[in-house]
Every structure is written in C-alpha cells, then in structure tokens.
C-alpha cells in the first residue's frame, strides 16, 4: 500500500513538470465552458424548458455544465496514452519485473494526476462558476451521495481506459480509443443531458456504462433523481465495476501470453 501512495506522490510531482500544459489545459477548459454556457443561454431563451423529467431552468443547466466540466478534468487523464507508450517502447518489461501490480500502479499514477488536475483545473472552474456564472448547491445528503458516486465514477472511467489501453498488446496503434471516446462523448451526457435525448438513444445509453460517470452523478447533485433511482444507479455502478474488473483480468491474462517486447 505504502509504495502505491509513493507512486501517487511521484505522479503528482510529475504534473509540476507539465505546468504550462496544465495552464493551457485550464484555459482551454474555460473556453469550452464558455461556449457551452452561451449555447444553453441561446437555446433556453424562455429561461426554462420542459423535459422528460420536469422543468429545467437556465441556472440548473448552467450548474449542469459547470459540474460536467469539473468532472471532465478528473476523468480526462492520460491513462491510455501512458499505457500505450509504456507498452510500445518496451518500458512494460521493466514494470513487470518490479514487485507491483501493473493495474494498481496505473491507477495510482492516475490518482496523482487527478489530484493535480483537481487543484489546477477543477478549482479554477469552480471559482469561475461561483463568481461569474452562479450555480446551485445541493442538499447535504445529495452532496454526500454525489461524492460517493463520483468516487465510483473515477474507478469505472479508469477501468474503461485500462481496457482500451491493454488493446495495444494486439494492435499497436492507440486509435482504438477513439471509438470508445466517441461513444463516451455522446452517451455519457457530458455535453447534452440525457433528458434531452430521443427515447431510443436513452435506451441505448442504459445498456452502456458511460452515463454512470457524468449524467448520474450530476443528476444526483441537481436532485433530479428519486431516492429509489439513486439506489438503483449506485447498484448499477457496482455491477459495472465488477463486470469491468472481470474483463481487465481476462484481458491481462491474455495479454501476458501475447506479450511481445519490441526491440529488447
């Protein structure tokens, strides 16, 4: 356990080496946030809109966009790229020699990056949200539930990225990630809340894990889920974590049989 804490720390300090990239990233996030806010302001000219789950006000929509943008800073991490790099350049051979679990190591790495992103990317968005935009705050129980589902969300998102990353053992290009990101962008509700979706797209998204890390936590934050739906969503999160964990184990075992170290 102690060594993984050390990995988190190292990965956090590594972030300092990419300060400029992080600041540019923060700027970029704020630009995208601004575009989103303007889009919703233009769409909700009446100040509110009726959806499948009730009436949504512009302030609620702004809160949605802000929370989604903050979640984005924690979930958009370089898990896939770090892994593909290590596998392609053979670094993985050294990793395997060390007395550590590769998945836990990758996870620890991500947590370090997350902490850095929390300080330098998430907090600026929160500040902008509170000072310039105005956002809603949840009740204490909803806030606690939100935090709990967010922890699960980070794990699920990691597992999906890890599964994509391991594909590099068979297909040495990293592009397969694009297909998953595409599904993710649409079905997670990161940009458009699922309550605006046509029914058939909502049905598809119910069979995918992506909405569990944007749409579900944000809905809990906004208080649009009934307690029963909340419980149901949390159970779904756990079910997906177990399924995805099983997949990572199977994939890892197959990958170890397949392992080809390039240029030894």
């Amino acid at each position: 356990m102690k060594k993984y804490l050390k990995f988190i720390q190292i990965s956090f300090y590594n972030g300092l080496a990419y300060r400029v990239e992080y600041f540019v990233g923060t700027f970029r996030n704020l630009v995208i946030l601004l575009v989103q806010l303007c889009v919703w302001r233009a769409l909700l000219t009446a100040g509110s809109v009726t959806t499948s789950t009730g009436v949504v006000t512009l302030r609620e929509m702004n809160t949605y966009v802000l929370i989604s943008s903050m979640i984005g800073t924690l979930l958009t991490v370089n898990v896939v790229w770090n892994m593909t790099d290590r596998i392609r350049n053979g670094q993985i051979a050294m990793d395997l020699l060390k007395p550590m679990n590769f998945q836990a190591y990758t996870f620890a790495n991500m947590l370090g990056q997350n902490m850095f992103a929390f300080l330098f990317q998430l907090l600026p968005i929160l500040a902008v949200g509170i000072i310039f935009v105005g956002m809603n705050f949840p009740s204490i129980p909803n806030l606690l539930l939100f935090q709990f589902t967010m922890i699960n969300a980070i794990v699920i998102s990691f597992q999906i990225n890890y599964i994509i990353g391991l594909v590099v053992f068979w297909y040495l290009r990293g592009w397969q990630a694009n297909i998953v990101w595409m599904l993710n962008r649409l079905f997670s509700g990161a940009y458009i809340p699922l309550w605006f979706f046509p029914t058939f797209l909502v049905t598809i998204s119910n069979f995918l894990p992506f909405r569990l890390y944007y749409f579900v936590p944000i809905s809990i934050y906004l208080g649009t889920l009934t307690p029963r739906d909340c419980l149901y969503a949390i159970l779904q999160q756990f079910a997906w974590m177990i399924i995805l964990y099983g997949l990572t184990m199977l994939e890892w075992r197959a990958a170890m049989k397949k392992l080809v170290i390039q240029g030894g």
Binding site: V24, R28, V31, I32, V39, A42, L43, N178, R185, P198
Partner: protein, 266 residues
C-alpha cells in the same frame, strides 16, 4: 510549373508509402468519421429538441459546422503533420536538410508529408454538404457555388496560417503542444453561429483571431441569413481575402523563424 510537377511527385510518393499500410489507414479514417459524426449527432439531438439556435435551424448549423470540417480537412491533410512535427525536426536536426534544398523552405517542409486520416473530414464533409443542399431551400446560382469554393479555400488558408504559426513557434519554444492547444482552442467557438456569444467575443473572433471568417461569415452569405447584427455587412464576403492575408502574414513569420534558426549541430 516545376513546383507543381514536384508536388505531384512528392504526393504520389506519399500515397505509395501510405498504401503499404492501407488497412491501418482505412481503420483510422473510419474511426475518425465516426468520431466527427458524433459532433453532427449531438447537434441533431439538440436541435431536434429546440428547433433552432439564434434563428439558425438544424441544416443551417450543419452547413456552418461543415465548412469548418472541410476547411480543416484540407489544411489537416497537407499542413498539420509537418507543422506539428516541427519540434521533432528541429530537435533532431532534420531541418538542416530542408535548408539545403533548392526550394522554398516552407514548401519543402510541407510537401510530401500528407496526413491521410484527414481525408475522413473531407469524405464526411462532402456527404453532409449534399445532405444540406437537399434539405435547405436555397436558390443556388453559379456565382454562389464559385463563392462557396473560394470561401472553403480561404477558410483552409486561415486554418493553414494558424498551423504555420504554431509550427514556426517551435523555432523559439522547445515544445509546441501548448501553443497548439492554445491556438486551436478558439476553433471551439466555431461549432455554432458566433452571434450566440457576447459582442466582445464576436469582435475578438472577427478582428483579433479572425476564425469567424472560417465558417460564420461565408455561411451567413450563402444561407441568405438576415437579422444577425454583423459589424459590417461586407464582412460576409471577406473569407478569401482574409485567408490570403493571414497566410501571407504567417509566411512572413515563418521566414523570421527560419532566419533565427541555428542548427543543433548534430
């Protein structure tokens, strides 16, 4: 003429080397088409629900989005990988090779290194243009078609100029990833008509970093939009000129960068 012949030769060579990996290239193109497709699907979801955004309907927004898609496809096909690869070229000294060729340095850097995955944007863009033309009730004249083609070329030149500036920055900065995401992030404003933003942002996108000319102004003219409060009505026709001017300026900046270049000596 000689330049033209040479570029054809270089391009043919690049196509041949791409064909060595045709399956990989095809998979890449396919995944990019899906990926870009999500942008259109998102717009479709939003505008099926809300009908229009600031008076622009679904196919009008598609048309707007699409000019940028095709223009970035063209600049991406020819310019993006050499310019993004500039930092690498400068670090390992390959740029010395460019300087000893009897050719313009920018031309030689760019030519022969096309990025074929960008054809995905061209394929998808052409498809969506056809879709838009069948759904939009606009009277199409020869003049309009000529204008559209000129505007797309102008838009591609604007995107090219931005990429050349990013590449040239490598002469001063060791890494250009930060410059790339910084300058590229203004493209995020182009997915919707710029009239949804505050007046100051519209002014910024028109006069400071004039990316609004990539798609908003030409689309405004082509779709006969009225009611949007433009700074000057003449801006609608500006894209080809703005493209040429920006490219010229970027080219001058490139020359300053080349003059400043000192080889790593490896």
């Amino acid at each position: 003429m000689r330049t033209f012949k040479l570029s054809l030769r270089f391009f043919a060579a690049a196509v041949k080397s791409m064909l060595e990996y045709r399956l990989t290239t095809l998979i890449d193109i396919f995944t990019y088409i899906l990926n870009f497709g999500v942008g259109y699907i998102s717009t479709w979801v939003l505008l099926s629900k809300f009908q229009s955004i600031h008076g622009w309907t679904l196919y009008e927004v598609f048309f707007l989005f699409n000019i940028n898609m095709v223009a970035s496809g063209i600049s991406g096909l020819f310019i993006s990988s050499p310019m993004r690869g500039m930092e690498q070229m400068l670090q390992n000294g390959d740029f010395d090779m460019v300087l000893i060729r009897p050719m313009d340095s920018l031309f030689y850097t760019i030519i022969g290194r096309p990025n074929f995955t960008s054809t995905s944007a061209l394929i998808l863009g052409t498809g969506v243009f056809i879709l838009c033309f069948t759904h939009l009730a606009i009277h199409i004249t020869i003049l309009k078609i000529v204008f559209l083609l000129a505007a797309i070329l102008g838009a591609a030149l604007i995107q090219t100029a931005i990429l050349v500036v990013i590449g040239t920055m490598s002469f001063w900065l060791v890494k250009n990833t930060a410059t790339y995401s910084l300058l590229n992030c203004f493209n995020n404003f182009l997915d919707y008509p710029i009239t949804i933003y505050a007046r100051s942002i519209q002014a910024f996108l028109t006069f400071v970093i004039p990316v609004a000319f990539v798609n908003f102004y030409p689309a405004h003219y082509f779709l006969n939009k009225t009611g949007d409060n433009l700074f000057f009505p003449a801006l609608q026709y500006g894209t080809p000129i703005v493209g040429l001017v920006m490219f010229f300026m970027a080219y001058q900046f490139w020359k300053i960068g080349v003059n400043k270049y000192e080889s790593t000596g490896s």
